[in-house]
Amino acid sequence: MTLPIFPEEASKIAEQTDNLYWGLLCASAAVCLLVFTLMGYFLLKYRNGKNVDRKPVHLPEMKIEVTWTLASLLIFMCFYAWGAKNYFLIERPPPGAMEIDVVGKQWMWKIQHPEGNREIDQLHVPLGRLVKLTMTSQDVIHSFFLPEFRIKQDVVPGRYTTEWFQADKIGSFHIFCSEYCGTSHSRMVGNIVVMSPADYQTWLTQGQPGNTLAQSGERLFRELGCSGCHVGKSVVRAPPLEGLFGKPVPLNNQEVVTADEAYLRDSILFPAKQIVGGYTNDMPSFSGKISEEELLQVIAYLKSLGSQTPVREQ
């Protein structure tokens, strides 16, 4: 239902949110009706000048108060649970989603597809595919807001935030930045274009193919000298990277962390933060030497390694 007061529903989440919106609207209308008619009735009946029985009558005050306190508490808890259910749906990216990287920069969105395609303020996605956005910001906090999908997630510098959606309607919808980020905050908009899978394939190939994210990550892996230490029988002892992504990593302070994107990013930018068990802190920090997009490419490469040893330096 696309009443003018509703944005288009372009995903399952949108329908869930609209159902919750209707539920909340009906409950509020009921409460408003109750309070305003009661007030209106009392105002008309007991206005000054009308001689009406005003003898104080004993009302079971405690009983009345307890009933409407518990009643409102009960209704509120129902909406709390409904809201929490929707929140779970929004916050948990289902497995097997297509990974797209988004980098927020002051007043533009830079988007990288795993196939290597790059776009500014535009996001082309196939219909029906689960898409998971891994987002970070180069400067201030932005927020990737898709009103037609009813989802929003702040893009915080220094950290990866994720957002996922599944478009089930073809068309072009809004992308807004909804966290104030400076002068042209209102021009940091774009649109997300949902295409049929066939059109999406043709769009992918027409876009300058170049090399995929993982391949440009591989090139960076060599250029920045990572392969110097991390590959084979190199002279400096550095932890092996084969099949690292997603596995638990024992640190030298007896903690165990899972190697997710955040761990990989922090190990590259702040190596001394979490040193792998049995190794010393002699990896140089790359913060300032590698941009956010390149970092995402290197991480895409490390993720694509699986159990295969990284390429040797040519």
Partner: protein, 212 residues
Amino acid sequence: MANSATAVAEQFDDMPQQLEAATLGMWTFLATEILFFGALFLAYIVYRHTYPQAFADASRHTKIIHGTINTALLLTSSFTMSLGIHASQRGRNRALLGFLLVTMFLGCCFLAVKGLEYKSDIHEHLVPGRHFPHEMPVQSQIFWFLYWIMTGVHSVHLIAGIGLLAVIAWMAARERFSAHYHNPVIVSGLYWHFVDVIWVWLYALIYLINRH
């Protein structure tokens, strides 16, 4: 304020009510101070949880000798302040003046030792910024930022405390207090003890945790 030494302020009915109001007023102000420092303690706890490694290394560079001497100085100054309050309750203005001067002297000693510590910290470039020692992890700059902010704000409160005691000492020298009326002495004593309590916690968090 009460013009004659013992008159009750016009809006109060009797002296105990005025004293209780003054004490409650100061305790409410101290509650705001707890929360003022509380925000800093929160930042400390959050970042020690996020970067245990970096904070442990950074806190080993703090000068524990200076810290311990300072804590002993402040605890002693609290002792002399309490004796001062005791004297003013007995109406002995001369003894009160003496104890106040000793307390202020101990406070100044604290600031002197603190100054020495700051000088050696600056000498070792332990100030977050460009020339922060590179071998230390980047996050330890957060520890040192918190160190400078916490001890700096505490020192400002200490200087304010010394100023407050100076005013009370001047009033004591002018025989403005008596056994019947000495509210300002009790209130400023509360403030001084509170500054000391905050330092006790700062000492533990900055100097002692992960010392070994």
